[in-house]
């Protein structure tokens, strides 16, 4: 067995950390200096120690107050900064809420608008549809469909009596209507409620437009029955009998697809809808427009 060295380890190695700190809280220097002075026999406390101590403590005082002032300044700045930031956050928040409320409003409004727009579109389509039906029937919309084409020309001899007149064409047209025609045009003039077939001198005017022979009368209708019916009508029969008598050149053909132009619409000036009673009998002077 070897000899254990009988050495005491220094205190600062053996004691636990916290105990060490607590024990060494007071500077050892104080103790050692005091012991030395006691050994040397000098006064326990030199005179000048008070003044020096006072000066050091003054420095300490300055440190404290400077630190306190600095801290309070920082706090002010950061508090002010904080306060401003928090205020701006508040403003930003409320601004955002406003916008979001407006977004909700607009979204709802757009939805309503969209729904009503769909309805309006339907209404418009129906109105336009009705308008076109009326236009078609009255002759103010181009028409297409199967039908017959009657070509009529003056007697080639050039005799004035053997020319086709307005009354002749009127008979043919009347016969066609009676036979079930739905739309009729002579050359390029579509027949309509405001237009007439009239001779001005020797020229036939339809819708006030002069036509030159040959006269091509196109009528849209049921090709299976139109021709036969035409011959059965009074005016139809009269026309063909007259045509034979006077020697007109004519031909009647079935056509699978006729294209009739629209007539020009003239604004109405005298007539108004309703009855005089409905309009309140507003007096003789009333001018309808």
């Amino acid at each position: 067995m070897a000899d254990k060295p009988d050495r005491r380890l220094p205190e600062h190695v053996t004691t636990p950390l916290l105990s060490l700190i607590t024990h060494q809280a007071l500077e050892e220097d104080y103790r050692s200096v005091a012991e030395r002075r006691a050994r040397e026999g000098a006064a326990p406390e030199p005179r000048r120690s008070r003044v020096v101590a006072g000066a050091v403590i003054a420095v300490f005082g300055i440190l404290i107050s400077v630190a306190a002032v600095q801290n309070s300044r920082n706090e002010e700045v950061s508090d002010a900064g904080r306060a401003t930031l928090i205020e701006r956050i508040g403003e930003s928040r409320s601004g955002l809420e406003d916008r979001q409320a407006r977004i909700a409003d607009l979204t709802r409004e757009n939805l309503e608008l969209s729904d009503s727009l769909t309805e309006l579109a339907t209404v418009r389509q129906e109105a336009v549809s009705q308008m076109r039906r009326l236009q078609l029937g009255a002759g103010y919309l181009p028409a297409t469909g199967e039908g017959v084409r009657v070509l009529v020309n003056d007697n080639p001899t050039g005799d004035p009596i053997q020319r086709v007149t307005d009354a002749d064409l009127a008979k043919l047209v009347d016969g066609l209507w009676e036979a079930g025609a739905e739309a009729i045009a002579i050359n390029d003039q579509r027949l309509n409620p405001l237009g007439s077939i009239r001779n001005v001198g020797s020229a036939i005017h339809v819708n006030t437009f002069p036509l030159t022979p040959p006269y091509i009368v196109r009528a849209i209708g049921d090709t299976r029955t139109l021709q036969a019916n035409l011959l059965n009508t009074t005016h139809g029969a009269r026309f063909f009998s007259l045509a034979d008598q006077l020697g007109f050149e004519y031909s009647v053909d079935r056509v699978s697809e006729l294209e009739l132009p629209a007539a020009r619409q003239r604004p109405l000036s005298e007539v108004v809808t309703g009855t005089a009673e409905q309009r309140g009998d507003r007096g003789v002077e009333e001018d309808s427009s």
Binding site: T22, E27, V33, P46
Partner: protein, 110 residues
């Protein structure tokens, strides 16, 4: 006494002049204050124990402050500035408590 007067004077000077601390040193000021406080309380305890010496007081004051600041500065360089600050405060705090307890014993015999 002179010590108390010195403290008062120091505080007044600090409040009157309100010097601006450069931002780079701002971090070390609190540490310096705590270290200084530890030295001051140690001095007070020594005085009450009857073993006060001014040279030791001055040396302990200055060395405490500079060493504490130096440790924190080194910590900042290494990137553990916050942690070292905490450590220094812990140690200084324990010492302050210890000295204050001894002072209390002297003053109140409790």
């Amino acid at each position: 006494m002179i010590a108390a007067l010195g403290l008062l004077v120091g505080i007044l000077l600090g409040l009157i002049f309100q010097p601006d601390v450069p931002p780079s040193l701002e971090v070390y000021l609190p540490i310096a204050v705590v270290a200084a406080l530890d030295a001051v309380l140690g001095g007070l305890r020594a005085y009450l124990d009857g073993i006060f010496d001014d040279k030791v007081f001055v040396v302990s004051f200055l060395s405490n402050v500079f060493i504490a600041a130096a440790i924190v500065y080194l910590g900042d360089l290494l990137g553990v500035g916050g942690q070292l600050t905490t450590g220094v405060i812990v140690v200084l705090g324990i010492r302050i408590f210890s000295n204050v307890a001894a002072i209390r014993r002297h003053l109140f015999h409790a």
